[in-house]
């Protein structure tokens, strides 16, 4: 890192941290490919059936999607602030940020849940119970919508769990030092999940409206 010689413990901690960060980046590469397969399916079918996808897009609740985008962007902002606070050793600010991040994450999931519920009411669940009038390829759009946002929501749930773990980990009673590296690693993951949404939002809510 720097040219200043460090003592052995500091050197090993730095090594460990760099190893963990590389591990997380590699994991995120896997995640990109994981979602990538479905993005390919989306692109292919959208180019084949632009009209059905436009109809599908109009069934989306633009308000909910936009609100969720805002919620996630703000949560990422607080995650970044939390990272900064952890590096400064400011335990109080870190925990405050983490609480906000977790709450915003749960808010996102609540809004998503509301959207899913309204899709059920409208008969937009693909499969045998599909009863929304529209072009025959509309279930294709809805399947991709549920598969992609559902997997994203699963990642959000894991993210909220990870933030809760950080809160426990940074509790003043448990540990002496403020966790710096775990916050950075969970932060990477959180921002990544946020980025996925930044792609999902226009693909499902905006294009073809």
């Amino acid at each position: 890192m720097s040219g200043i010689p460090m003592d052995r413990a500091a050197y090993e901690a730095e090594e460990r941290a760099a190893t963990n960060r590389l591990g997380m980046w590699t994991f995120l590469a896997t995640e990109v490919m994981f979602f990538g397969g479905m993005f390919v399916a989306y692109v292919l079918y959208r180019s084949s059936y632009p009209d059905a996808f436009a109809v599908g897009s109009r069934t989306m609740e633009l308000g909910c999607g936009t609100a969720n985008t805002a919620v996630l962007l703000v949560s990422s902002f607080f995650m970044a602030l939390g990272d900064r606070a952890a590096r400064k050793g400011d335990r109080g600010a870190l925990r405050g940020c983490l609480v906000l991040v977790a709450l915003l994450g749960m808010a996102f999931l609540a809004i998503k849940g509301y959207e899913y519920a309204s899709k059920v009411d409208e008969g937009l669940i693909p499969g045998r119970g599909f009863r929304y009038p529209g072009p025959p390829q509309l279930p294709l759009f809805m399947t991709l919508y549920f598969a992609m946002t559902g997997l994203h929501a699963l990642h959000m749930i894991l993210g909220v769990c990870a933030v809760a773990w950080l809160l426990w980990r940074s509790s003043p009673r448990r540990h002496q030092s403020v966790p710096v590296e775990p916050v950075a690693i969970v932060g990477l993951y959180w921002h990544f999940v946020d980025c996925i949404w930044i792609f999902l939002y226009p693909l499902f809510y905006l294009i073809g409206r």
Binding site: G23, T30, E31, F34, G37, M38, S48, P126, P139, L140
Partner: protein, 542 residues
């Protein structure tokens, strides 16, 4: 494992990894990369035997054109079982999880992998996937073939497709964990002085394989997930009735499964580079080109999946592009074959068992590669696609190539893993038996394929009878070849002569520590001052 005769253990300052703690718990909760490698060795041997039993059943059925013993439905289940088990539960994990785990950290001078707990998790996840797949097979099996093509798998197939696919899905995470671990280990855990261009080619090969594992496996996972969604909930992603495209499934599937071929062969190439250098006491010919060839194969391997689909009704232009790229991906493989041959030049060659396996790999891989060129040639593929020619081709690569390399690795590193030497002449006989039996089994299948016999046929026209009988006869020889090592290696584990740290006089870092190695591999961290393969042919070998 925990009943070693104590008298054979030489007194040592620190007990080796096998003797440190012999309780079952210490094995099941171990974080030691060596023990995890051994756990994988046992698990994979079990799966290999199961896959081989399925193969034996198929070869027996094909003794008669009307189908011997088994009816079509059973035959279809056998080849699915054989494919799924051999690919995902033997070939994909084989060299990476056993020898990657055991050797790679030592080969770069590290005490362990970067994430030891994740490494153990990888084994448990693998077991979980294995249990799911075995349940599916036990409950009645699946007849889709290992490729799970839709809409057959999603709509028409009977059997436990969901269970089987979820087993493969879960096992994918084991691959990802292992790959991630190796990538980070190679980046962060190299010993002082171990620069990138001092890495043994085995490490390069495992590193490139890991990149493919990490980038390709998730695509398989998502593909099987979408297929299972379609089967389970009737929501067609690939269903032509609502505008879905079955070819999309094939594209996504082969986007994983073609790179998976390189997952299966690259580690073998790495092992063979170690074997040929050690037993000819020569540095590898063209080290850097060999390293870059590995990376080139890994990279180009992502761009050729469409050659599995030349007759699938993909567009003419897609066919032309994928054909051209497939020719290009063969170039680095050809370079490797030439370089291995050149490595032998002016060496000091000993034909011990690992070397025989290494040379067998080069010969069979060359034939597999050249027939692959035939399949990349568009009009030839139109005729040969889906026939026994393809079956023979990929068995030459995967069994002739990868399994030979796996056996070579097992014989090369066995003394390091157990501290014992096996009976060399028996090992040489088994290597020759496998080589002969393999060619007898699969060479007739090239001819069958050219004559037009399609794959996955439980019964077949009588004009193919003679060649099928030949092939089955070869398979029984091959079976004997595979059973032999089971006996003499087990015997050597209990009664073999102590091996000493470096029985082959090899140069890798793993040979600088005791056999079996202590828990943290090295008494003190080794410092590397020269490239790999610093052999001199004039040097007297031990």
């Amino acid at each position: 494992m925990n009943t070693l005769p104590p008298l054979a253990a030489p007194p040592r300052a620190e007990p080796d990894y096998l003797r440190r703690d012999r309780s079952l718990r210490s094995w099941l909760c171990t974080h030691d990369h060596k023990r995890i490698g051994v756990l994988f060795l046992f698990t994979l041997t079990g799966f290999f035997l199961l896959g081989a039993i399925a193969a034996a059943g198929m070869r027996y059925a094909l003794l008669s054109p009307q189908g011997n013993l088994v009816v079509s439905d059973l035959y279809n289940r056998l080849f699915t079982m054989h494919g799924v088990i051999m690919i995902w539960f033997f070939l994909v994990p084989s060299i990476p999880t056993v020898f990657g785990n055991f050797i790679l950290p030592m080969a770069i001078g590290a005490p362990d992998v970067a994430f030891p707990r994740l490494n153990l998790a990888s084994w448990y996840v693998f077991l979980a996937g294995g249990v799911l797949v075995l349940t599916a097979i036990g409950a009645g099996g699946v007849d889709t073939g290992w490729t799970f093509y839709t809409p057959y798998s999603s709509t028409y197939a009977n059997g436990y497709v969901m269970l089987m696919a979820s087993g493969v899905f879960v096992t994918g995470f084991s691959s990802i964990f292992t790959g991630l671990n190796f990538i980070v280990t190679v980046h962060r855990r190299r010993a002082p002085g171990m620069t990138w261009f001092r890495l043994p080619l085995f490490v390069w090969a495992i590193y490139a394989t890991s990149i493919i594992l990490v980038l390709a496996t998730p695509v398989l996972a998502i593909t099987l997930f979408l297929m299972a969604l379609e089967r389970g909930f009737g929501v067609g992603v690939f269903d032509p009735r609502i505008g879905g495209d079955p070819l999309l499934f094939q594209h996504l599937f082969w986007f994983y499964s073609h790179p998976a071929v390189y997952i299966m062969i690259l580690p073998g190439m790495g092992v063979v580079s170690e074997l040929l250098t050690c037993f000819s006491r020569k540095p590898i010919f063209g080290y850097r080109v060999m390293a870059f060839a590995i990376l080139a194969i890994a990279g180009l391997g992502f761009l050729v999946w469409g050659h599995h689909m030349f007759v699938s009704s993909e567009s003419l232009y897609a066919g032309l592009v994928f054909s051209l790229l497939s020719f290009l991906v063969s170039v680095p493989s050809a370079i490797k074959v030439f370089s291995w041959t050149a490595t032998l030049h002016r060496g000091s060659i000993r034909l011990q068992a690992p070397m025989l396996y290494g040379l067998g790999f080069v010969a069979l891989f060359t034939i597999g590669g050249l027939t692959g060129v035939a399949l990349a040639t568009l009009p030839l593929d139109v005729h040969l696609h889906g026939t026994y020619f393809v079956v023979a081709h990929f068995h030459y690569i995967m069994v002739g190539g990868m399994l030979m390399a796996y056996m070579g690795a097992l014989h090369y590193w066995w003394p390091k893993m157990t501290g014992r030497l096996y009976h060399d002449w028996l090992a040489r006989i088994s290597a020759l038996t496998i080589f002969l039996g393999f060619n007898l089994t699969f060479f007739p299948q090239f001819v069958l394929g050219y004559l037009g016999m399609p794959r996955r046929y439980a019964i077949y026209p009588p004009e193919f009878h003679t060649l099928n009988v030949l092939s089955t006869a070869g398979a029984s020889v091959l079976g004997v070849g595979y059973l032999l090592p089971l006996f003499y290696l087990s015997w050597s584990f209990f009664r073999g002569r102590p091996a000493g740290p470096n029985p082959w006089g090899a140069t890798g870092l793993e040979w600088r520590t005791a056999s079996p190695p202590p828990k943290d591999n090295f008494e003190e961290t080794p410092v590397v001052t020269e490239g790999p393969y610093a052999y001199r042919p004039e040097e007297a070998a031990p």
